[in-house]
């Protein structure tokens, strides 16, 4: 399988106002095979948006190499842009124009012929439920609807690569779900998707491979399973008690969980350590408070992410 995106030892430095040199990216490398969904995760200032700007040829890299569909971002920027549909982090719409003009002009600017653009418009309008707003100027719309228009634009194109920088921010849950389903379908049809997000459940659900960035450095990367394995000594325990008597909370606290949530008859806990050492203690608790249901799971992406961020600081 050929790579749609290749990033090799990319560094990005710039001069801050006070004269100090800021390392926005520090030797980042990854590849995204065609037809895959790749996620970039990280807190604010991690370097995700800088990487997106480099790949979409807005900003030059300081050293290293990056290519999209085999075209080098430094040497062949126009050819790179011909492969891309990009949704940037900030809301980007033509506020004075109508929704219809926004979608059509976006297609024209990507070289789609007017007749083909009008044809695609019909599908996009139906899918994103914007038929009633088609003649409205975008400035009349809510922020969420503007975001919907911005994301809808990329489906006016059939470029091989889609880049989404926190694209679902501000979208209502139903539309977010629809966009995620559509992105999965696009990937199945061979389009490659690079997305940055801070919504970890979104990355967990969509991405086949993930890189976690912090302060311009790679903290971890791999498939979801590989990332979960990074935290082998972390596990989540869910318990359902038949009845709660005595100081259950106190007894659970005594187990030294990293996280503890008790609600009614159920408790959720996250532990660091070996599962076997916990089992004996839980058996003791169950003698006084019967445990009806017991489940041990690996960490969620969010837990891995938080653990990595804590380690890096």
């Amino acid at each position: 399988m050929t790579n749609a995106i290749e990033v090799v030892d990319v560094h990005k430095t710039y001069q801050a106002r006070k004269g100090e040199v800021v390392h926005a990216l520090n030797g980042i490398s990854f590849q995204v095979p065609q037809g895959r969904i790749y996620g970039l995760l990280g807190p604010n200032g991690a370097g995700k948006s800088t990487l997106v700007k480099i790949l979409s040829t807005i900003t030059p890299l300081s050293s290293g190499r990056a290519s999209v569909m085999g075209f080098d971002v430094t040497q062949q920027p126009l050819a790179v842009r011909e492969q891309l549909a990009v949704v940037l982090q900030q809301t980007a719409t033509e506020n004075l124009l109508t929704v219809r003009d926004n979608l059509l002009i976006y297609a024209y600017l990507h070289g789609v012929k007017p007749a083909a653009a009008r044809e695609r418009l019909k599908n996009v309008v139906e899918e994103f439920e914007i038929g009633e707003r088609l003649r409205d100027t975008v400035q009349e719309l809510s922020l969420g609807t503007k975001r919907r228009i911005q994301v809808a634009k990329i489906f006016m194109l059939d470029t091989p690569v889609i880049i989404l920088d926190e694209a679902t921010t501000g979208m209502d849950p139903l539309m977010k779900r629809r966009v995620m389903d559509r992105l999965r379908a696009e990937a199945r049809n061979g389009r490659t998707i690079l997305l940055t997000t801070q919504v970890l459940s979104e990355a967990e659900e969509l991405c086949e491979s993930i890189m976690i960035l912090d302060h311009g450095r790679e903290m971890a990367s791999g498939t979801l399973r590989e990332l979960r394995n990074l935290s082998t000594h972390m596990f989540r325990v869910s318990l359902l008690f038949g009845e709660t008597n005595g100081d259950l909370m106190g007894r659970l606290r005594a187990l030294n969980p990293v996280e503890l949530q008790v609600e009614g008859n159920s408790a959720e806990m996250v532990f660091h350590g070996e599962e076997s050492s916990l089992l004996g203690k839980l058996a003791e608790i169950s003698r006084e408070t019967p445990i009806l249901q017991f489940e041990v799971r690996g960490p969620t992406l969010e837990e891995v992410f938080i653990a990595l961020m804590k380690e890096s600081r």
Binding site: K53, I58, L84, Q90, N95, L96, D101, I105, L109, G111
Partner: protein, 253 residues
């Protein structure tokens, strides 16, 4: 649709949503011609001597008004980059499969039509209602100068619009430039009669080069050597401004 065609269409749609801007571009220079021209023609009484020939003040001012049209259209077109920044579309535009040059050319193309319409309106008003006599045979040259002048001012102002984060800084700079470039040029008065300290910056002012060329194409006056030099300077100035604007877009991050 070609890249330039698509940007042209985008700018056309945007400009048509704001008629006040179009009004400013087309009618303010006309107001100068009518109010300023009539007032000064009455005040000065006789003819103004240019290149050994005498002209009424309105005829003398007409090329300057065309210069004003190019400046206003360029200013408002470059201001559009701030609208793009405001709506967040500016950076997205840079991810589209069009070159920075195509983006600039496409953005000014529709506005060149406005500059030509504004110039034609000024010429019609000057000739039909204010008795200015012009060289009709050189009208294509006039149109070419208007196009080049508008484009080069746009490229220059775009550099500021792209680089400046604040719209008020941009507006202040352009207002200052508007005053200095217009009044420190041959737009309103013949330069030879002015003091030396005034003439030096005026002769170095691109507005003077453009107005002198327009004065030649409209009235047929000017020394050949000076006009050739000014024509060359206008082209070099335009190319420098264009390369600076492309560079600014390439470094717009």
């Amino acid at each position: 649709m070609s890249g330039i065609g698509a940007v042209f269409y985008r700018d056309y749609r945007q400009r048509m949503t704001n008629i006040a801007f179009v009004f400013w571009d087309l009618f303010v220079p006309l107001a100068y011609l009518i109010l300023f021209g009539l007032g000064f023609e009455r005040m000065l009484g006789g003819a103004i001597a240019v290149g050994g020939e005498g002209f009424g003040y309105i005829a003398f001012l007409l090329p300057g008004v065309l210069g004003m049209v190019t400046f206003s259209v360029a200013m408002n077109t470059s201001w559009g980059f701030f609208m793009d920044k405001d709506s967040g579309i500016f950076y997205e535009l840079l991810t589209y499969p069009i070159t920075r040059l195509q983006l600039l050319i496409g953005k000014i193309s529709f506005n060149l039509l406005l500059a030509l319409i504004g110039s034609i309106m000024a010429i019609i008003v000057g000739v039909a209602f204010m008795n200015a006599a012009i060289r009709w045979d050189l009208l294509p040259l006039t149109a070419a100068i208007v196009v080049v002048a508008t484009a080069e001012w746009f490229f220059l102002f775009s550099v500021f619009a792209i680089k400046f984060a604040r719209m008020d800084t941009f507006n202040t700079l352009l207002s200052a430039m508007y005053i200095l470039l217009m009044f420190l040029s041959s737009m309103f008065y013949p330069l030879p009669d002015l003091p030396f300290w005034f003439r030096i910056p005026a002769y170095l002012n691109p507005m003077t080069w453009q107005v002198d060329l327009l004065r030649f194409s409209l009235l047929g006056v000017g020394s050949t050597t000076t006009l050739l030099l000014e024509g060359f300077a206008v082209i070099v100035f335009g190319l420098i401004c264009l390369s600076l604007a492309v560079r600014a877009l390439n470094r717009a991050d």
